[in-house]
Every structure is written in structure tokens, then in C-alpha cells.
């Protein structure tokens, strides 16, 4: 039995909160643009143009991916915030199986990522970073699939995290490695073997690669996409499904769930 109205409730709350927390939204737009203009221009001056693509253009799929990664992670981590603030109390007493909380939160994280990436896309289009060669259908698919995978990473982290105290640790040990050890800043094919191996087990790599297909295409210089579109989609879809199942399992498991109830109810009464 599906519980779409509760899922809609969670999505609506996420969107309302996203547009209410202006700083979160503004920084979600500014962060990738800084990378594009500062890092892109800086390294672009050092690196020579390869295969007709400037380094700045090469970075466009990477910063789109970055927006989705950060957007989805922050939205997924509201699950931890909800545990601390008490909103989780509303969710656990509602009449649906508890894994639906994970389904709803994961969808809302993906939605947050898609919305933020779409806003960024408009900015990029206005600034002239998208040209007529962009394959918009593929781009839309890339946004959806990458957002879903990023939401999956976020839900896995959220399901295994009890408090927001270790948010800095999550930034350092999850978000940054996922971002740096992907094809966002450099072509995967040019990476040293060890790092390449890590990039290949990172599902986010395939999201960025799909975006490269849409924005850059496959270039002979190796500056374009590294994998086939079908590979990208298969990896992203597979990872998303596994993440959803694992996070749901973890969340509903009694040994994880009952301590959470005790945190939520703050009870010292046996």
C-alpha cells in the first residue's frame, strides 16, 4: 500500500523550508559559481585548452553535480535534525510503516537537489555556459539520476548518524572525498590508478559523467565523458536502489530504532 499523501507532506515541507532558509539557497548557488569562476579561471590559465574545451567549460558538469551533492546531502541530513528537533516524533506516530519515512526523506532530498541544480542551470544559461550543443533531454535525466544517487548517499549517512555533532566529520569524510574523488575536477581517465580505482567505486562519478554526456559529449581529448550513458544510468539506478533498501532496513531495525525512540522521548522514566 502506498502512502503518497504523507510523502507529499515531507516534500512540501522540504521545499517550504528550502525557500525560507535563504542563506542555504544562496550559498547553494554561490558555492558552485565560485568554483567555476575562481578555480575554473585560475586553473584554466595554467592548463592549456584541450580538445576545444576550456577548463571552465569542463567544470560545468562538475559544479552542477556539486550543487546536487551538497543539496541532497543537506536535505538528507535534516533527518538527523528532525531526530534532534522533535519533528521525527510526528513522523513515527503517523499511520504508515516506518520505512516510508526513509522513502519520503530520500525523495525530498532528491527533489531539493533537482530544484537547486535547475536554478543553477538557469544562472549558467544566462551566463552563457550552456550552448546549443547541450542535450537537454539527457541533462534532465542526468539531474534526476544524479540527485537520486546523491540522496541515496545522504540517506545512508543519515541512517547511520545519531546526532548533528559530527556534521563537520561528515563534510570531511563523506562530502569532500565524494566530490574530489570523482570526475568533477579532472577526467577520470587521467587519474593515477589508485585514485581511479576509488573514483570507479564512487557512484557520484557516474552522475557527473552522465552530465558530461549532456553538456560536453564525448571528446577525443578525454576531456569529455569517460563511460557509456547506459553504464552511468545502470550504476546510478543500482546504487540508488541499494541505498534505499539499506537505509530503510537500518532505520526500521529495532536495535537502531529503539535507541532513537529513547532519544526522541528523552525519557529517564525506565
Amino acid at each position: 500500500m502506498a502512502h503518497w499523501r504523507p510523502v507529499y507532506a515531507v516534500l512540501e515541507r522540504e521545499v517550504v523550508r528550502m525557500f525560507r532558509q535563504r542563506t542555504r539557497l544562496v550559498s547553494a548557488m554561490v558555492r558552485p559559481l565560485i568554483w567555476l569562476f575562481v578555480i575554473g579561471a585560475g586553473f584554466g590559465a595554467v592548463l592549456q585548452q584541450a580538445g576545444g574545451v576550456s577548463y571552465q567549460q569542463f567544470l560545468v558538469p562538475g559544479v552542477l553535480g556539486m550543487t546536487m551533492l551538497f543539496g541532497a546531502m543537506l536535505a538528507a541530513l535534516t533527518m538527523v535534525y528532525d531526530k534532534e528537533s522533535g519533528v521525527m516524533r510526528m513522523l513515527i506516530v503517523a499511520p504508515f510503516p516506518h520505512y516510508w519515512i526513509v522513502v519520503a526523506k530520500m525523495l525530498s532530498a532528491a527533489l531539493a537537489a533537482i530544484l537547486q541544480a535547475s536554478l543553477l542551470l538557469i544562472l549558467l544559461a544566462v551566463l552563457g555556459y550552456l550552448d546549443a550543443q547541450t542535450r537537454f533531454g539527457l541533462l534532465a535525466l542526468g539531474l534526476v539520476a544524479t540527485s537520486a544517487a546523491c540522496a541515496g548517499i545522504g540517506m545512508l549517512v543519515a541512517a547511520f548518524t545519531r546526532t548533528l555533532d559530527n556534521f563537520a566529520a561528515i563534510m570531511n569524510f563523506v562530502i569532500f572525498p565524494v566530490f574530489f574523488l570523482s570526475g568533477s575536477l579532472y577526467p577520470v581517465s587521467h587519474l593515477p590508478t589508485a585514485l581511479k580505482a576509488v573514483a570507479l567505486v564512487n557512484p557520484y562519478t557516474f552522475g557527473v559523467d552522465l552530465l558530461k554526456h549532456a553538456v560536453l559529449g564525448v571528446l577525443p581529448s578525454g576531456m569529455g565523458a569517460d563511460f557509456a550513458i547506459s553504464t552511468d544510468i545502470a550504476v546510478l539506478a543500482g546504487f540508488t536502489a541499494v541505498a534505499l533498501v539499506v537505509a530503510s532496513w537500518r532505520f526500521s531495525r529495532e536495535s537502531a530504532y529503539e535507541p532513537m525512540i529513547r532519544i526522541l522521548t528523552g525519557k529517564r522514566d525506565g
Binding site: Y8, A9, R20, V87, R89, M90, A94, P95, R268, D269
Partner: protein, 335 residues
Amino acid sequence: MEPTFKVRKQSRESAEQDTRPHSRAMNPAPATLLAVRARGLVKRYGDVLAVDGLDLEIPTGQFFGLLGPNGSGKTSTIHMLATLIRPSSGSASVYGHDVVRDAVRTRASIGLVFQESALDRTLSIAENLRFAGLLYNLPSRIIAERSSELLELFGLADKRNRPVGSLSGGMRRALDIVRGVIHHPKILFLDEPTIGLDLPNRRKIWRFIENLRARTGMTVLLTTHYLEEADSCDRVAFIKSGKLVKSGSPAEMVASLGRYIVEIESPDVETLAQRLAPTLGTCVLDGDVAHFRYADEDVVRLAGLQSEPGIRVRALRWRQPNLNDVFLWVAEGKA
């Protein structure tokens, strides 16, 4: 005990179908249907036995108080009945739904107000209620109708667009209760609903709950530390170390203690307790005051105690017992 017949229509399976605000059908419930039935309920945390073979029956429509000292297992019991934690053994059902096998339907028939707030401080009152209502699968229109009705009842109607973070503690508690009943539950669990509130706000919350009960006839299961609040319960049960010690109407419970409570204050209260045990029976010590139960009508006899040799009495008073005394005697295991 007789089930009360103030319940809403029993045929309604879920909150979703119940779209009429505060429908109050007077058709009697089947005599066998209990709002809550627990049999040998046990909850174990490692070596700690939080709830120890609890049997509980609450008829529909009753206002039931679960009382007991800290750590006696009240909250664990409520959470098992609310399907939030699993019983280690034993069984329980709420309106006929087994809390383990039929958890989702159990949750649909209950409203739960936690000790701590379950609201989103960043959203407004109306947005919080909308969120809660959608979680119960209510259509937007119904949520809007019920929200305005309930906010009116709870004196929050003019604040519907205020963010929850800006509300006072009392208003937030009131909103928490509105949130707990937006889906018209058949039974409302109130776990220490007035904890941390000042007296005027506690009174206000109780007026709201009374109004709500008068309008909907819903069953209410209450835990509280403020025993004067349990005075208006139809029935109360005292639990201690996870076991039911005593239950009955507040008046019966109080009457069972005796006609009077005699308080004797003495600098050497332990000697006094020993010396008076043969005449007055066991006592409960509260600082340097000894509480005795006194069944006799003749209180004049007590005055003579002061002249008994070897007893130093600083003050002596007698009064009618109340629920606080029951609590005290239960907590001491002497009730």
C-alpha cells in the same frame, strides 16, 4: 466496570474516512470492545525490567490516569501501546488492533502527545498542522476546517500564521495537543502533558482537554506527576517497578487509605514512628514528618499522643487524604 457509551462511531476504520468534524454518534459500542487491553505486558532493557507483566483494561470513552514514581514504567507502557517500542513479551491491543501485528492501524486510531514537543519550529502553526494532517492522509480541505476549529477551541486562532518558534511554552503545548488530535483519534495518549508549565498554563491546558473530551468523547490515557490533575480521571492506576499496584476511581483510592492522614512532626521522627507503630500502624516518613493512616472517627484521642512519655511532638495535624497520599504510600510500597 461498565464501559461508557460516549464513543464515536466504531465502524470507522481509519481517520481518513472520518471526515465530519467531531462526529458524535450515540450508538453504543459492543460491550466487549475495550479501548486498551494489555495482558502480561513486559518490556526489558538489558537487565532492567521496565514493565513487568502489566495487565490493563481501559473501556472506551474513559479518562484514565496511569500514575507512578519516576522509572515506574509509565512511559514505556505508553510507548508499547503506541507501537513505538516492541513488548519483550505479553500482548496489547488498542481498539482491537494488536500493537505488534497491526501497528499501522493501531497508530491510526491513537493520538500521542509526547513529553517533549513534536513541532517544527521553523514552520507556522497552520503549516505544522497541515504537515501533521497530511501525514494522517487527510485531504487539505479537511485539515483546514479542523485546524480552524481546533485552534479556536485552544485559543490559538489569531496566531495561525505565527512561526512556532515564537510561541510561549503554554501555547506550544496547546498546539502539540491540537497536532495530536487533528486526525480525530479514538484514544489520546497524554504523556505528562503539563510538565514544565506554570500553574495558569497548566489550568488552561486542562480546560482545553476537558472541552475536547466533552466534544468528542474520546478515550484519554494520561500520565502525570501532578496528582491533583488526576483527580478528574474516571479511573487511575498506580504502577511501581513496572507492576500495577492499585487501581480504581480516585475517590475509591483515596478512601482506601483511611478516613484521615495524621501528620506528626518531631525532631526524632524515627523513634516516634517506632513508639506509635502499635497504636497507629505503619507510617510513611517525609522529612521529619511521619504520615499515619487513621481510620477512626474520633480524632480527639490523637491529642493525647503529645503527653505520652518519650515522644516529642513539634506539630500534629490531621486532614483528609488525597491522591498525593496514595502516591506516597504506593511509592513506599505500603499501600
